[in-house]
Subunit: 122 residues, 2 copies
DNA sequence: GGCATATCCGTACATCCGTGCGAATATGCG
DNA sequence: CGCATATTCGCACGGATGTACGGATATGCC
């Protein structure tokens, strides 16, 4: 039987929780961005780019070592669509770099911290 | 025609990039965790829980306001599977809270910062 | 014991996402 | 102009994922 549950069980805590909840819009934007980050190829590409000025698709493929150039190209396209990387054409070569204003500390600090959390759990 | 691209175009930068790249294992773990976070319902549940001791499924559903109890239940199951939340049974009511050792600053600092980034882009 | 409530499960369904393959575009070189 | 290289595109396939619905389970109350 479907449940209505119109009556809060802990009204005080509920009020407090509501204050911290993101709006639907904010949560959607955040989810979209995290979705872009939640792919091994894409996150590794960002980590490859964080310590270097710029690199072309072929060299980025070599940097990862175990992906095809198609995968790299597709992943870069997603990252570019999310505004996380920029391109600079140099003849036939297209160089990718982290976008202007990209928070480098996000990679080096936040995401690496996330990694240590999962380490503890495993 | 498929491309081999055995020759790096920028060997120096490539060497530097390789140093920063995550291993396949690390990237997979990170991607899995980010995948759990990259859902509006799940992230909003975490933000609801960050400022409160614990809440039951029904009240969490009310806190979000625009999701079904099934959605809440399913999302909490995912979060629990990832080790991000814990449960405490109290009679018929099952209360959820952030897991022990959960980095509260991750929500309040890192993820909210991510939100501001996308604001600029939009 | 019998009923109401809180939560969860199993299934079915639609949808999205990453990948591989072949071909196309774009540029440089001779 | 014709060919080689770097990158991207279009398409189809398989796999994973979120949602809805009915029913199951667990607990408390009378």
């Amino acid at each position: 039987m479907p449940v209505d549950h119109a009556v809060p069980i802990n009204p005080a805590a509920l009020r407090q929780a509501r204050a911290g909840v993101l709006s639907r819009d904010e949560a959607d934007r955040l989810a979209k961005l995290l979705g872009v980050l939640s792919d091994p190829v894409r996150s590794r590409l960002l980590f490859a780019l964080v310590s270097v000025e710029e690199l072309c698709v072929g060299d980025l493929t070599l940097a990862l070592g175990d992906v095809s150039e198609d995968q790299t190209s597709y992943a870069l396209k997603q990252l570019r669509g999310a505004g996380l990387v920029q391109t600079r054409r140099d003849g036939r070569i297209i160089n990718y770099r982290l976008a202007d204003g990209f928070p480098h500390q996000l990679l080096e600090h936040c995401l690496r911290q996330l990694l240590t959390i999962t380490e503890e759990g495993a």
